[in-house]
Symmetry: C2
Subunit: 157 residues, 2 copies
Amino acid sequence: MDQSETMPQTDVMGSVLDTFVGYNLKRAYMIVDSDFRAVMADKALSPRVFSALTLIARVPNLTQSDLSRRLGIERSGLVAIVDHLEGNGYVRRVPVPRDRRVHALCATDKGIALHQEAVALVRAHEDRLLSTFSDSERQQLISLLQRIRNISEKDEA
Amino acid sequence: MDQSETMPQTDVMGSVLDTFVGYNLKRAYMIVDSDFRAVMADKALSPRVFSALTLIARVPNLTQSDLSRRLGIERSGLVAIVDHLEGNGYVRRVPVPRDRRVHALCATDKGIALHQEAVALVRAHEDRLLSTFSDSERQQLISLLQRIRNISEKDEA
DNA sequence: TATTGTTATACTCTATAACTATA
DNA sequence: TATAGTTATAGAGTATAACAATA
């Protein structure tokens, strides 16, 4: 009788958990996320605020609904983010005459400046954290992660 | 004068965000995490409870401190997880005579059975979600993610 | 003194539902 | 009716600090 059918193997060093993509994804995500927060703490930019500012700075006249779709978060969750950016003078909610329900999100000069500083800081943070990765390995990782992102876009369509 | 020095490029299709490892990591993580939760909902196993049960089932006589170090979460956060597993009869906190501070965590037969079902379900969930990945691509992704995990272990040491 | 498990607490991110004002 | 922005609320997950029991 094969014991493996009735009993899980004990694993002392390499855990079964390490064979799951999801577990490795989470652990890696938490490391990168936590380093990001440490680096950006004095700019008061969390990952989500950074992402929002980046899109607002680079895509003119985004609406909040556009932005929520792009970032994959709910409209309701975006309100606090835009409040924060507007409260610190990085972004303005500009009324749109042809549809008075929507606000166009426009980065101020101060917002553009912060965006540029922030991108440089985030690049430096990733360069340092991933200093043992070759350019090709880093690109490979990004491609594989984008494959996962694309799977879910297919499901939605 | 080079405009790229003073103005960020606008990006309409592929965003700068897509060039950051962290952003892709987060988006991919959220997709896998959300699919995991949907699949495991009727077993009431969140990712963290699944991970805890898996280690408890496979590593005999773990203490909570051991487990928290293995999972990379605080001891305080583990209490609710073990409470949940113990409350449902999957795990017992067994007193250890030689050190009365610690509890050995032991999976019950019911816990072992759930663990085995759960591992099969999680494997199926990843096989389905990553069905466009070859075995080698999947292993490559895991290896790259483990490289990130190892970076941080180095920092801790 | 240090460690184990625990409690209390708070913060971030996220989601859902319902509201309002427009269209 | 449907959509944009908003509010209220709740639920995970995480972290920090402090405590009692024990080493």
